[in-house]
């Protein structure tokens, strides 16, 4: 080691190898942080409230006996607690987040700003409707865009997430079948094996019976299998089909499928999770669908927030529109008004949630849509698809594309290139973590063995994509060379691989003073 005249080292020491365990448990910028229940205290609070006057209570004796014993923290401690925890998270603001079918794109900060305007954030869902006309206009304006972009005549705005939108669509189909007097007879819903799990779960929740359709060798619906399932069509309620599908492919027979399902007396539910691939280039209404939810948090970039809140407005065809849930907005002489009660809309299948839907997501999505405009949204789809095809092209030599040809917005690989090694899809995923990336979606869709589904979105630059592809290609090469270190990756993340079996075997779902923490088996 060289020193300058004051004894300060001027070069990095070469002594020592890996980082030693520290006394504090912190590692440089990464701070150790205990549980709230270990660092907080019931004597502490981070709020200053006026002292109560001591009025005699009017609770009629219905009072809490045991204290919650929840610890508090002062504001500086609380802010540190959450900032330290935040640093253990990966995020789209840090780098490529290529989770296929999840659409992790940049969240414009203008949208956060407008959602926080007091006129949107500080208005009550039950205050007089004349005092919230601007809020109703936001809903109407967003609805207009969604209907125009999809070429559909109606949209239900209240569903609170994608799966809730699926429920909306399937409840509308159920109501339409019942109105035809065929509710009891038509119970069978066709769902491709490649479908997201929410599709069969939703259909089952509505009392339908799921009949799976096979995938063809090219990753699309097997049309012959579909036709055979429609031979006796008297019990057919409809089909739930994702387009572009979960393999990242456009269902090229979709118009034919719509015709077949309609001829069979059923309805066509299109899962719109991947609408971002076609927005501005294809209007789903031109494909013959009857209902489709739109994940505002995907296509229109409202933040994912670590697992919600989402928002799932659902467009409906003329055949299903009368059954849309309450509340919905109508124009009156006094301005915009909600129809809130089932009794005022007897055909409606009812209410799906307490108020009017995810208003905070509507304002963000509308700001996103207005920023992009009709031309920009088309560019969004094209760039998303271009970026995915670029990844496919750059990696097809070292990994195994699941299907021939171009993809839409996501590139799907199988684990075929790992044959003969003991490396598995999960090891590739964990290896990416050490390279500073969030892994791709793994083991989904189920129709591809060891699936790796990569969705870059349109908000990645070419330079970012190149760095990502270089990293993933090097991992793929290490895998084919049977690099054992991949089996224990990640090595550089805030945590090592976690024991999920242990978590499920004897679930510990909250902290308790009696057993404050798990101990490693000796």
């Amino acid at each position: 080691m060289t020193m300058n005249s004051t004894g300060r080292p001027t070069s990095i020491t070469s002594a020592g190898g890996g980082a030693a365990d520290t006394v504090s448990g912190s590692k440089g910028l990464l701070q150790a942080e205990g549980l709230l229940f270990e660092i907080g205290s019931t004597a502490k609070t981070g709020v200053d409230l006026p002292a109560p006057k001591g009025t005699k209570d009017r609770l009629g004796g219905v009072t809490r006996k045991a204290s919650s014993n929840l610890p508090g923290l002062s504001e500086p401690e609380a802010v540190r607690h959450y900032v330290r925890l935040s640093q253990k998270n990966y995020a789209i603001d840090l780098g490529v987040f290529p989770l296929g079918s999840c659409t992790m794109k940049h969240n414009p900060r203008l949208n956060e700003k407008v959602a926080r305007l007091p006129g949107f954030a500080d208005v009550h869902p039950m205050q007089p409707q004349a005092t919230v006309q601007g809020a109703l206009e936001v809903i109407e304006e967003l609805a207009h865009w969604l209907m125009t972009l999809t070429n559909m005549p109606a949209v239900a705005m209240s569903p609170k997430a994608g799966a809730h939108g699926e429920l909306c669509g399937m409840l509308a189909i159920r109501a339409a079948l019942r109105a035809r007097g065929e509710g009891e007879k038509r119970k069978r819903v066709l769902v491709p094996v490649s479908a997201h799990g929410t599709n069969p779960a939703t259909a089952a929740q509505c009392g339908f019976i799921i009949d799976e359709i096979n995938a063809a060798a090219d990753g699309r619906v097997d049309l012959e299998d579909l036709k055979s399932k429609l031979k006796d069509s008297s019990d057919i309620a409809g089909i739930m089909l994702t387009n572009p599908n979960t393999c990242g492919l456009f269902e090229r027979d979709i118009v034919k499928i719509a015709e077949l399902i309609h001829a069979a007396g059923g309805y066509f539910y299109c899962d719109g999770a991947n609408f971002n691939a076609i927005v501005g280039r294809v209007r789903p209404g031109d494909l013959g669908i009857d209902a489709m939810h739109i994940n505002l948090h995907k296509t229109f970039s409202t933040p994912h927030g670590g697992g919600g809140p989402g928002s799932g407005p659902t467009v409906l065809s003329k055949a299903l529109a009368p059954y849309a849930p309450v509340p919905f907005i109508v124009k009156t002489a006094d301005g915009l008004r909600f129809v809130e009660h089932h009794s005022d809309a007897p055909d409606s299948f009812g209410r799906m949630c307490a108020f009017h839907g995810q208003m905070g997501m509507f304002t963000r999505a509308l700001a996103y849509i207005l920023s992009h405009g009709a031309d920009g949204l088309r560019q969004v789809a094209e760039d998303a698809v271009l970026n995915a095809n670029y990844i496919l092209a750059r990696l097809k030599g070292v990994m195994s594309p699941a299907f021939e040809g171009y993809c839409m917005h996501e590139a799907l690989f199988s684990d075929a290139f790992l044959k003969g090694t003991d490396i598995e899809t999960i090891d590739i995923a964990k290896g990416l973590i050490d390279e500073g990336y969030h892994p791709m979606t793994m083991y989904f869709p189920l129709v591809v063995h060891g699936a790796m589904l990569i969705e870059p979105t349109e908000t990645e630059s070419r330079a970012e994509l190149d760095r990502f592809c270089d990293a993933l290609a090097s991992i793929a090469r290490r895998a084919t060379q049977k690099d054992p270190s991949l089996k224990t990756a990640p090595h550089l993340a805030p945590a090592k691989r976690l024991d999920e079996t242990r978590a499920a075997r004897s679930p510990r779902l909250k902290w308790t003073p009696e057993a404050p923490t798990l101990k490693a088996a000796e």
Partner: protein, 448 residues
């Protein structure tokens, strides 16, 4: 375009690498009849940040924020003060712009906050286990009804007349689709204990609310006892979570499942959403529970860590046999809740609850002193129902002219139920004595 990093040169170079002539090649599977030649017709093109902000601000300015003056609307969503640090915390990029923690090694931040949230919610409600949140209180209530049917293998649910009507409607929608019979008791101000008489051996659960939609607080213990005697579960609902700082929590009343709205802690009114549904139950029903759960475990070095767990209940594994189709929680609102709750602690929450209750006591006294007004709610937390000699819609409209947003008319909640002269009004720590005095004075004027 400011959100799109690719340049025209990038696009050309990338197409060359791919070996495609244009992006049209990628859309080759789209049927010719559905291919659009250019941008969707009839919609404007892109705009700069300034123009969009102006447009949105103009729309926002047409609404009257709750903070702008005297505001007494409750009925399932409550105006509370949120500490400034809460919004700062949820805007951290690492929380705001991350996904469901499917890769736990790089999501311990989200997972630990989930674990802390579950612990806080269990302690607040006095229940054994809590999940990592639902969309909102109403959908949590609907899921609780369906879960009770799974647990008991019965097919009828009974709803109290004091259950928020939107919760009842949401529950009815989900139950009817699943072939579950719903029995609805008539709206009664102080009728939660009627559930004890209504319970039958066919009922999977009875659903009661405290404080209920009229503000009435009720000890549901007799309902729990009557239900359990018939093998029926008690689902206990709350829409004002701050009440749990003072009022008997569901766990002390023998509830089997307790659900509610968490908006009051950390989440702005936001015109009804997004909010955060709280869902709790007895440990023995854990595997029938809907929604995401976070559990503690160890990593390969033997260090504590957290993962999503018991996912064999969920749709991505169980598909049509799942306990629910739910695929998200209300992640960011959950974070806001847990951060605000951490700032409060038991000490802050108890004090906050007292302030809310005292404000409501003052409101009840002030309005009750107005000639012709009768406060109907016998025991309350921060919300009351009162009757006026005139129809409530006219009274509220007249109050608006005095710049008092006086509450919700009961006929908006229960149309045709003969409650035309009843108003439901809430007071919180944001309500000042001056607000209350102005309300009483304006009401006296309106009823003159």
């Amino acid at each position: 375009m400011r959100y799109l990093p690719l340049t025209a040169d990038d696009r050309t170079a990338m197409l060359k690498t791919i070996g495609a002539k244009s992006v049209d090649d990628f859309y080759g599977d789209v049927p010719a009849s559905a291919r659009l030649k250019g941008p969707v017709a009839g919609l404007p093109n892109h705009q700069g940040e300034l123009a969009v902000e102006r447009h949105m601000s103009k729309l926002a300015a047409k609404n009257r924020p709750a903070s702008d003056g005297r505001f007494f609307v409750g009925s399932g969503a409550y105006k509370h003060h949120i500490p400034a640090s809460v919004d700062h915390i949820i805007q951290r990029s690492e929380f705001l712009t991350t996904y469901t923690p499917y890769q736990p090694e790089i999501a311990q931040g989200t997972l630990q906050t989930m674990f802390e949230f579950q612990t806080q919610v269990a302690a607040l409600t006095g229940m054994e286990v809590a999940n990592a949140s639902m969309y909102d209180g109403s959908t949590a209530c609907a899921e609780a009804a369906v879960m009770a049917c799974r647990v008991t293998k019965r097919n009828t649910v009974i709803l109290s007349g004091g259950l928020h009507p939107h919760y009842a409607d949401t529950t009815r929608t989900l139950c009817e689709a699943a072939g579950i019979k719903v029995v609805q008791l008539a709206p009664v101000l102080d009728g939660e204990l009627d559930l004890a008489k209504a319970v039958t051996e066919e009922a999977a659960c009875v659903i009661g609310q405290s404080p209920n939609v009229f503000g009435t607080v009720t000890d549901l213990t007799p309902v729990a006892d009557a239900a359990h005697a018939k093998g029926t579960l008690l689902v206990s609902v709350f829409t004002e979570v701050v009440s749990l700082g003072l009022v008997k929590p569901p766990g002390e009343m023998g509830a089997d499942i307790a659900v509610g709205e968490g908006q009051s802690i950390g989440v702005p009114l936001g015109f009804g959403g997004p909010y955060v549904g709280l869902f709790t139950c007895r440990s023995k029903f854990l595997r029938q529970m809907p929604g995401r759960l976070c559990g503690e475990t160890l990593d390969a070095d033997g260090k504590r860590g957290f993962v999503l767990t018991l996912s064999t209940r969920e749709q991505h594994i169980r598909r049509d046999k799942a306990t629910s189709n739910i695929c998200t929680n209300s992640g960011l609102c959950m974070l806001a809740f847990t951060a605000h709750m951490t700032l409060l602690g038991d000490k802050g929450l108890t004090q906050l609850a007292r302030l809310n209750h005292e404000a409501a006591c003052d409101l009840a006294d002030a309005l009750g002193a107005v000639k012709g007004v009768k406060v109907l709610t016998p025991r309350f937390f921060n919300e009351i129902a009162f009757e006026t000699p005139k129809p409530a819609d006219a009274v509220l409209a007249a109050l608006e002219k005095h710049d008092v947003i006086g509450g919700v008319r009961a006929s908006r909640l229960f149309p045709g139920a003969g409650l035309d002269n009843v108003v439901v009004a809430a007071a919180t720590e944001c309500t000042t004595q001056d607000d209350i005095n102005s309300y009483a004075a304006a009401l006296a004027e309106v009823l003159k």
